[in-house]
């Protein structure tokens, strides 16, 4: 039982990290950013390249090198996110919302198959792998790598919450999420703030990508697709647009899947988690935190 919960938590941490960016972007411009999962994939590949370049220049201890690589990757994928918004989303921000969805799907295809053209269809081996055995926790086994994932995800989420709650930019984001027009009248630079949201969301996804590479040791060009869908699901469970909701939703989805495997077996896992989701939304149509909280960032 504890083992099942621990398994769920470690998967859920990943979902939560990716779902955060999804939810942030949704909160501010109401866009389902289908390319978000592919930013996660891009992060893994950027980390792969940076790590390759870095290890050939200087020899750092693995842990320090990994932290450095994660930071560089976050900056690069954040930039990619901003660029994406500029090129594909901003020109049609006032078009029907579904048109944005199509450019998002188009971007997703372009990213996936662009990476495939560069790195080939075969999965690649990530040069560094966090592999420090496993520990026993209340009778459940968990690998150290997964504990690191949970910790890193937790830290990033706390930092982000503080940023949104305490800083000027955070306030600007919340203001735009509530009412973009009024925010503009109050002197908030809406375009800049939206760029910032894309930067932060994509940087988080990039960090998750590097983590995935380092924990599992393999990356491939389609790895973002499924996690994008999972993150979307997690964000909706939590109440889309709500930051804490995304975190809760990620963990909840991880746990649902873990229990699904334990009770019904792997082949019925997705049926189980989606059925729970549908039942839950039938009784609570706006997710865990969707309705109650007024501020949605």
């Amino acid at each position: 039982m504890i083992q099942v919960i621990v398994n769920g938590l470690s998967v859920g941490a990943f979902y939560a990290l990716v779902a955060l960016g999804y939810s942030m972007v949704y909160g501010i411009i109401k866009l389902l950013n289908f390319a978000h999962g592919d930013i996660y994939m891009l992060g893994a590949y950027v980390g792969f390249v940076v790590l390759g370049a870095l290890t050939s220049w200087l020899s750092l201890p693995t842990a320090l090198g990994l932290v450095l690589v994660t930071l560089v990757t976050m900056a690069l994928t954040g930039g990619a996110g901003v660029l994406m918004e500029r090129v594909a989303y901003r020109p049609i921000r006032h078009a029907p919302r579904l048109s944005l969805l199509i450019t998002a799907v188009g971007l997703s295809f372009a990213l996936e198959y662009g990476v495939r053209q560069i790195f080939g269809p075969k999965p690649s081996h990530f040069p560094v792998q966090i592999d420090a055995g496993s520990v026993n926790l209340f009778g459940a086994t968990i690998t150290t790598a997964r504990i690191i994932v949970i910790l890193v995800a937790g830290v990033l989420m706390v930092v982000l919450s503080l940023f949104v709650a305490k800083t000027r930019q955070g306030r600007a984001m919340r203001a735009i999420a509530l009412d973009a027009k009024a925010a503009r009248l109050m002197g908030i630079d809406v375009d800049r703030t939206i760029s910032l949201v894309f930067f932060i969301g994509s940087a988080l996804a990039g960090a998750a990508g590097v983590l995935a590479g380092a924990v599992y040791g393999t990356i491939d060009f389609l790895m973002g697709f499924i996690i994008g869908i999972k993150a979307f699901t997690a964000a909706v469970i939590g109440g889309i647009g709500n930051l804490y909701g995304a975190m809760l939703g990620g963990v909840a989805l991880g746990l649902l899947e873990s229990f699904g495997v334990a009770w019904l077996g792997g082949q019925w896992r997705d049926v189980f988690s989606f059925l729970c989701l549908i039942l839950f939304l039938t009784f609570r149509p706006t997710g865990i935190l969707g309705g109650r909280v007024v501020e949605r960032m």
Binding site: N7, V11, K122, P123, G133, S134, T218, D220, I226, G266
Partner: protein, 389 residues
């Protein structure tokens, strides 16, 4: 648009339609204008996945077939006519495979060789059959491929049931006490684990649990802990390379220390790289023989490397053998007629293939298919046990 407008539109359309129908004496309705030809080259059509996640194998298939075609042409061709290979992408997708197969038929092929995924090869059988084209399937080996009972369809790869029997034999030899089977829910891997259970239980194997993983994911912690929790000492994973490699790694991280057997879909040189250097111990695979395991295949290997600048991969030899089987059938039949070629191939006794002497059963599968056990050693799979003794 109004009711009237639509009625008028229909009337107009029908009028134009009938006028054109009357004048169209060249008539395309009869079907393909450039159907199979009795002169010129004999065309062999091949379907292989050249895009999508299985695109690596498509290249292996194509190269193998090219080798065989080149050899045949060097020996003067077939029935005095040169042989030509036409390759189309099936993307391992039923829709694309159907489109590709009909494109081949429209291109006027006489013979069909190829097919990697069972699911996408299945709908092509009927297309080739009804257009009078005999078919040799090179890699796909789902048992439903022979259930349609078409007498001109042949499989040069062993069936899942034959592979499962080899796996059962190996598990018995290793003295496995508790076996855990894993597949990814695709047709072929699931067929393999089902067949393993079917043959394993009467043979006295203790299969403690079966689990399914999603091949697009990377975290198999739930299944890995389930393996350890079940006390299994033998895992049979029939998914493809990456999921099996990750499962092997994660199961061993959680403390699994038994034998890890993989199906032929995952036997790939990349396995060692993907699973990580710390976890390569006791990894085995069921596989058909490859040239590097055979004595006397050095020359073939050398000419392959000279031609493509790379090592042959999985199913290269099956594609090569598939073309040769088909060519032998045509030679014996003296024509490319579907029935004649099919009868000739059914009549083959001990035709020499990489996988051994070939004789086809009434269902069109190899009567004796030799799956061997390979082991992961120094980053490569090498022959471990031919299960003959």
């Amino acid at each position: 648009m109004t009711k009237n407008s639509l009625v008028q539109r229909l009337v107009l359309a029908t009028a134009i339609l009938s006028t054109l129908a009357l004048t169209a004496c060249s008539g395309g309705v009869g079907g393909d204008q450039n159907g199979p030809n009795d002169e010129g080259p004999i065309r062999i059509g091949m379907l292989a996945p050249l895009t999508g996640s299985e695109s690596v194998y498509g290249t292996y298939l194509r190269n193998g077939a090219e080798m065989a075609v080149e050899e045949i042409n060097a020996q003067g061709g077939l029935l005095g006519r040169p042989v030509e290979l036409v390759v189309e992408d099936d993307g391992c997708d039923a829709q694309m495979a159907t489109a590709g197969a009909t494109k081949l038929v429209s291109a006027g092929i006489h013979l069909a060789v190829g097919g990697y995924c069972s699911g996408s090869t299945l709908p092509t059988e009927q297309i080739f059959y009804s257009n009078g084209i005999p078919q040799v399937i090179t890699a796909a080996n789902g048992s439903q491929l022979i259930e349609a009972g078409l007498d001109s369809v042949f499989l040069v790869n062993g069936l899942a049931t034959q592979q499962a029997q080899s796996a059962v034999k190996f598990a018995q030899k290793q003295g496995a006490q508790a076996i855990f089977t894993v597949d990814d829910g695709d047709a072929y891997p699931k067929g393999l684990t089902d067949a393993f259970a079917e043959y394993g239980q009467p043979a006295g194997l203790n299969i403690v649990a079966h689990e399914q993983i999603n091949k697009a994911e990377k975290d198999f912690g739930s299944v890995a802990t389930a393996i350890v929790g079940s006390g299994a000492d033998f895992v049979f994973c029939t998914a493809y390379v990456q999921p099996c490699a990750l499962l092997n790694q994660q199961a061993k991280q959680y403390g699994f220390s038994g034998d890890f057997l993989i199906g032929d879909g995952a036997v790939d040189a990349q396995f060692a790289d993907l699973t990580g250097a710390a976890y390569v111990e006791r990894v085995y695979g069921t596989f058909t023989q490859t040239p590097d395991m055979l004595v006397g295949a050095e020359q073939w290997l050398a000419s392959y490397q000279a031609k493509f600048g790379a090592e042959p991969g999985p199913y290269t030899t099956q594609a090569y053998d598939g073309v040769r089987v088909m060519a032998e059938g045509v030679r014996l039949a003296g024509s490319t007629d579907r029935q004649a070629v099919a009868d000739a191939i059914h009549g083959l006794r001990g035709f020499d293939l990489f996988s051994g002497p070939a004789t086809f059963t009434d269902q069109g599968v190899l009567a004796d298919s030799s799956f061997v056990i390979v082991v992961l050693k120094d980053g490569k799979f090498v022959l471990f046990d031919d299960l003959k003794s």
